[in-house]
Structures are given as C-alpha cells and as structure tokens.
C-alpha cells in the first residue's frame, strides 16, 4: 500500500452514512484496485474518503456516496454496500472529484488522495528548463549534495571545507558518499545515547524518567527502559536483523571506546549488565516483553489492549484507534472482561484489537510477579474481571492471521509486509521529512520490498539504498 496513506486510509471503512458499520470497505477497495500503492502492504484509511472526523466526507467520498445505490434508504447493509462499491468506483474513475486536474483513477493508481486537491501526482520536471546552478545538479542525483546531506543526517554535522575538497577530488563521488555513510553510521550522533536512533525509539518506548530503574533512575523505580533502547538500536545497526525488535529472546549492551563514546552494540552475555528482565527466554518477544513495556502498557489490565495497540503502532505503523490496520475477526470481540466492546461503535476496532490482545494475557504488568510470564495470571489475579474472563484464550490474531501465543504473534508481525514498510517509513520520515510523495512511491516500495529480500532485514543496507534514491539525492 502507499504506506503514507495507511494512517489516512482505513477511512473507506466509513463510506456509508453509518460510520462504524462497514469495516469491510477498505478490503473491497483493494479488491478493486490491488495495484494501488495504498493497497500494496495494507489497507487504506479514513482520510481517503473522509474529511476530518467521519462520517463527514471529503469530495471523493461525497461523489462516491452519491453513486452507491442512490435510491436506497440509508444506512445500507454491508452486503448492499459491497455489491455496489466496485461499480460506483468504476463510474468515478474518469472524474476529478477534488478538481486538481488529475482523474480519480490517476490518483488511485499513483497513490495520491482523490479527495484532496493538495495531494496530486507530482513529477519533478526538468525538461525544458534553462540555466545552470553552480552548486548542484538540481535535475539529477547529485553526489555533492548527497555528501553534505549524508554528513548532516548521519554524522550530525556538515563536512569541513577540507573534507569537501577531498570529496571534490574523489575519483568515484558516489562511492565517496557511501563511504561517508558507512563512517557516519557508527557516529555517536547516529548510534549513541540520545542519538538519532534513540530518538526514533522514543515513540515506541515512551520513557518516563520518574519510574525508571537502574542508571538515571527515578523516585519510583519500576523498570529500566535503557534495555529497550539498546535492543532497538542493536536491531537497526551493523549486520543485525531488524526483526529483532519483535523476535529477540536476548538483551544487548552498548560497547564504548576510551572516550566513552558508543561504538557498537552486542548481545549481552553473562558478564554484561542489563536491567532486570524476568520473562523466560522461551516467552520473550523482543521489545514487547521487556519489563518496561509490560509495566507501562499492561499495567493492571486483564486484557492488555494497550500493549497490543502500542505494538501495532510501533512496529506495524498502524494506529487501530484511527481505524488503521483493521482486520475484523469473525465472532469477535467476545468481551471476556465485560467492557461493553460489543457495542456497534466499539466492535469496529475491537474485532481486530481484542484478538490481537489475547496473546498478551499471561504477561504480568504491575500485578503478581511484575514483568513475568505467568500461565495462571488471569485465574490468580483477575477472576473478578468478568464472568467469562477465565475462558479468555491465549490464542489470537495479528494482521488477520491466527497465532497461538505472543512469540508466534511476533513472528507473523515481523515477517509481514506491514513491518517492512513501517520500518522503512521511519527512516523515510526521518531523512526526508515527509511521507513518500506520489513521485517517490516507486522508490519507497522498492526499499521495503528489498529490505525483505536482498537486504535480508538489514537496516544499514537499506540506508545505503535509500541515499541512492532520487528522493534523497536530487536537490
């Protein structure tokens, strides 16, 4: 899918006037346009057809709504809606709902939003341009531009005048750019504490110093999130598998040089000091089962929905609260903890979220033995949380696939297209400052598909490919 639209895209859900009635719509849209970038690694979201909060529609949504069984009273049944949607979409293909000069079909196939006139196919067009630029070749990948940009992005500082002079004399400028990247990927600015990779991890870890234990601990020391940061950075660096953030059954340590600067990360061995981690090795699932993550996101809940939702956000790029990544499971939610989630307004999300949360049920947050895996957790600590609470299974679903426990959840998620696309998206946003434009979609898709293939989930290899893109290297 055009990953940039993922947050935006689940909104086709809301095509009918009953905003929560039709979670099948994104899938139906992608059945009609499987080649659309927004469907390549997921499903479209709300802003594809809606403006702001559903059910308010944008211009494409309004045009589409008018085409779907206009003579029938609203709300439509899911069956009626699904039956009419493909034809309605086809009838709109030649029109230009947002009036930006591009047909709806052109926008669907190029990954832009057919209901937003500011989102449009945008090719960089240098043909016919005259003049020169004494700094850069603004129509092509420019090594001098890339060299400076790599230095700033990964080393945190511009090259010196002397370094630029040496670069200008290089026989192979592109090779010199890659050499600079290799050098900067080991810089304190990139891998050190509070470096760029640490900053990327902030949203996933959501640290709170007041309850940190260990170094730099707070007044109520509960768990040490430095383990989480170190595991994340380990997975992003050197020849390490990026999927470790979800699948690791180990923890890592930072190695430093004589100046105290971090040089690399290793898997912790017996002599290395890490924070307290009490989940047994066979039950570990990377950053999802660290003591910090369990304390923060499981806390006192029987059904740890927050933990599952945060994992979707952090590692799959999907915010279920924004109707992203919905894969409704039949007969769900069961509502084991009596929270009323079978209400129409709730089950649109909870038919995905609850089955994704069941595999977390045996991981202790702030109850029982904090930060452990306890197969009797529900029976021992949450017996009064609902009449059927003890019937809650450990088996669940992630991305629509059944899983037996959290370690399998992690494997399915880590091997998904969604994980690869979300991983690349993190760096795309960091290095380019925006989500992929329509003209950049092809390069973006190539990066995450290659991450899964030739690059074997090695982020540093992906970054070498990323700096070779026109999106990065054309000034």
């Amino acid at each position: 899918m055009r990953w940039s639209l993922l947050p935006a895209a689940t909104a086709v859900v809301l095509l009918a006037s009953d905003a929560w009635a039709l979670p099948v719509a994104p899938g139906a849209f992608c059945d009609a346009y499987p080649e659309a970038p927004t469907c390549l690694a997921g499903l479209p979201a709300c802003t594809y057809c809606h403006a702001g909060t559903p059910p308010t529609r944008n211009r494409f949504g309004m045009a589409l709504e008018a085409k779907i069984l206009p003579a029938m009273s609203r709300p439509l049944s899911a069956e009626d809606f699904l039956g009419a949607l493909p034809t309605a979409l086809m009838e709109l293909e030649g029109e230009d709902a947002d009036g930006d000069g591009y047909t709806n079909l052109d926008e669907i196939l190029s990954g832009t939003l057919p209901g937003d006139d500011l989102s449009r196919p945008d090719e960089i067009e240098c043909v016919g341009k005259t003049g020169t630029n004494n700094q850069y070749d603004v129509c092509n990948w420019d090594a001098r531009y890339a060299f400076k940009k790599v230095s700033l992005d990964f080393c945190g500082r511009s090259p010196t005048w002397e370094q630029m002079q040496a670069f200008e004399a290089a026989a192979d400028p592109r090779a010199a750019v890659h050499a600079r990247l290799t050098e900067c990927l080991d810089s304190p600015f990139w891998i050190g504490q509070d470096g760029q990779l640490w900053e990327l991890a902030h949203k996933k870890i959501r640290p709170i110093q007041a309850i940190k234990s260990g170094d730099d601990g707070g007044v109520i020391p509960l768990a040490d999130y430095y383990d989480d940061y170190r595991l994340f950075v380990y997975a992003q660096t050197d020849d390490h598998d990026a999927r470790s953030v979800l699948t690791a059954d180990f923890f890592t340590v930072a190695r430093t040089n004589a100046n105290g600067q971090t040089t690399h990360y290793d898997v912790a061995t017996g002599g290395d000091r890490t924070g307290r981690q009490d989940v047994s090795t066979d039950r570990r699932a990377g950053m999802m089962t660290t003591r910090w993550n369990l304390v923060l996101n499981v806390m006192f809940t029987a059904l740890p929905r927050t933990a599952a939702a945060q994992a979707y956000r952090s590692f799959l790029g999907m915010d279920i609260a924004r109707l992203q990544g919905l894969n409704p499971i039949a007969n769900e939610p069961v509502d084991y903890d009596d929270k009323g989630v079978q209400a129409d307004a709730c089950k649109v999300c909870h038919s995905t979220l609850d089955p994704a949360s069941y595999p977390f049920k045996n991981y202790q947050g702030l109850t029982g033995s904090v930060g452990t895996y306890d197969p009797n957790r529900i029976e021992d600590d949450f017996r009064n949380e609902g009449a059927n609470i003890t019937a809650m299974p450990e088996q669940g679903y992630v991305l629509g696939q059944p899983v037996s426990d959290l370690t399998e959840w992690a494997q399915v998620a880590a091997n998904s297209e969604a994980f690869a696309a979300a991983s690349v998206m993190e760096y795309w946003r960091l290095l380019l400052g925006h989500e992929p434009l329509a003209s950049e979609q092809e390069e973006f898709n190539a990066l995450w598909t290659t991450l899964m293939g030739r690059n074997n989930y090695r982020i540093e290899r992906m970054l070498h490919d990323l700096i070779d893109t026109e999106a990065y290297g054309v000034p």
């Binding site: 960089i124 067009e125 240098c126 341009k129 005259t130 003049g131 020169t132 630029n133 004494n134 700094q135 850069y136 603004v138 129509c139 400076k148 940009k149 700033l152 945190g156 500082r157 511009s158 090259p159 010196t160 005048w161 630029m164 600015f189 900053e199 902030h202 949203k203 959501r206 640290p207 709170i208 110093q209 007041a210 940190k212 730099d216 380019l432 400052g433 925006h434 054309v474 000034p475």
Partner: protein, 230 residues
C-alpha cells in the same frame, strides 16, 4: 548603534538566501539577489529579480535543528561544541535552554518524543543568540592573536577600525568565513556586501568598528538560510 546595521543585515540575510546566483552576462554586476550594494547611503529598497540560476523543482529544505546547528557553528568557527553558546555562561543553548525551540526533543521528563513539527516564533531569536555568542567568541580570540587566527587574521587594523576596507586581507577573511561556514567561496558581490556592511558600521561612529563588523559579518553568514537549512 545597530539601527542602520540591522537594516543592512536584513538585506544581507536576504542575499544569502540565494547564494547560488552567479552573475551571468547581462546581469547588473552590482546586484545579487535583488539588493543594491553600489550606494553606501542606501539601506533599504529591496527589489526582486528572477534568479539567474536553475532552481530546484523540489525546493525541499530542512531546518538543521539544535544539535546540527551547534555542531556546524562549532566547526565553522573552530570552537568546541560546548563552547558555541551558553546562557549565563553555563547553560547550553542547544542542549538545554533553547533545546525545544530549536527542534530538539525531551522524552524522559517532558514526554516530548518528537520534535515540534514547525519552528516556533522564538526559534529565530534562539538561533541568532547562538550565532552571536559563537561569533563573538571567534572574533575575540582571533583579534587577540592574529597570528593564530582561524578567520579574522591579518586585518589592516588601526585604532579599532579597518585601515582599508578594500584591502585583500578583508576579502581573504570573508573567504575563510564562507569556506568554513558554507563550504564554498563567496561571490564578488557577497564580498562587496561585507565591505559595505563595514562602511555602514563605521558611519555609525562606533569605536570598535572592525570588531563589530567581524562579529556581524559572521552572524549574517551563520544565520543565513544556506547555513541553517539543508
């Protein structure tokens, strides 16, 4: 003191935003980026011209944010990162006092896990404070020991003033500033702008016109679009 000077600086900043414009045949050699430098009494009157260079279609530039700005100022002026700017002499501008306004984050206590999406209304003020602080450090050091100066060495000084603003040493100092800060040589027009800046400062009757000029020239270059964005 700085009334006229700031007007010139404003023009200079505008000029530096378009540094790639090399004069082409037929261009007015006294104009660059639409500002006139041939009238020493003139300190306003910006005119707009079509750039003579091929501009980027993408036009995508990014603010360097706190740590890159600190590092680049330090590199340009050969200062330690920690010496670039400290409020009250002890609180780091980039890492503490102006950290958020300069695009930094503070996740552990304030819960600010990502930089603010836009620069704030005080960001230019914070950047200018950093630049002014760092430039003052460099100029003070250079003028105190000209033989080991990084940028402002060899100036023809006489009683705090430049004895000859047209001297080659003045152009050489400006060239070193550009090379270190912007990684390129200045255009002839840009050198002329800096000389004009000195004339305007001197016309204000300041006792240390050369020092003021060196600091403000440095400030103008370090706070240019070309310096702060990439």
């Amino acid at each position: 003191m700085f009334r006229k000077t700031y007007a010139v600086l404003a023009l200079s900043s505008f000029l530096y935003a378009c540094p790639s414009a090399e004069p082409t045949p037929g261009d007015n050699p006294t104009r660059d980026g639409g500002t006139s430098v041939d009238d020493p009494n003139r300190d306003g009157g910006v005119t707009t011209t079509t750039p003579s260079f091929l501009a980027s279609e993408k036009g995508s530039v990014r603010f360097k944010r706190n740590r890159r700005i600190q590092a680049d100022f330090a590199t340009a002026l050969d200062l330690n990162d920690a010496a670039v700017c400290n409020e009250l002499g002890q609180y780091s501008c980039a890492d503490f006092i102006h950290r958020i306004t300069l695009g930094g984050v503070e996740a552990y206590v304030q819960g600010l896990n990502e930089p603010l999406p836009f620069t704030s209304v005080t960001t230019p003020l914070a950047v200018e404070r950093m630049a002014l602080f760092a430039c003052r450090e460099r100029v003070t050091t250079d003028l105190a020991d000209s033989d080991n100066a990084r940028i402002w060495g060899g100036l023809p000084l006489a009683n705090g003033a430049l004895a000859d603003v047209e001297a080659e040493e003045v152009a050489a100092a400006v060239q070193r500033l550009y090379q270190r800060a912007l990684l390129r040589n200045p255009t002839p027009d840009e050198v002329a702008h800096h000389r004009q800046l000195y004339r305007d400062i001197e016309a204000d009757g300041q006792p240390n016109a050369a020092r003021d000029w060196a600091i403000l020239s440095c400030h103008a270059v370090l706070t240019s679009m070309e310096s702060l964005f990439y």
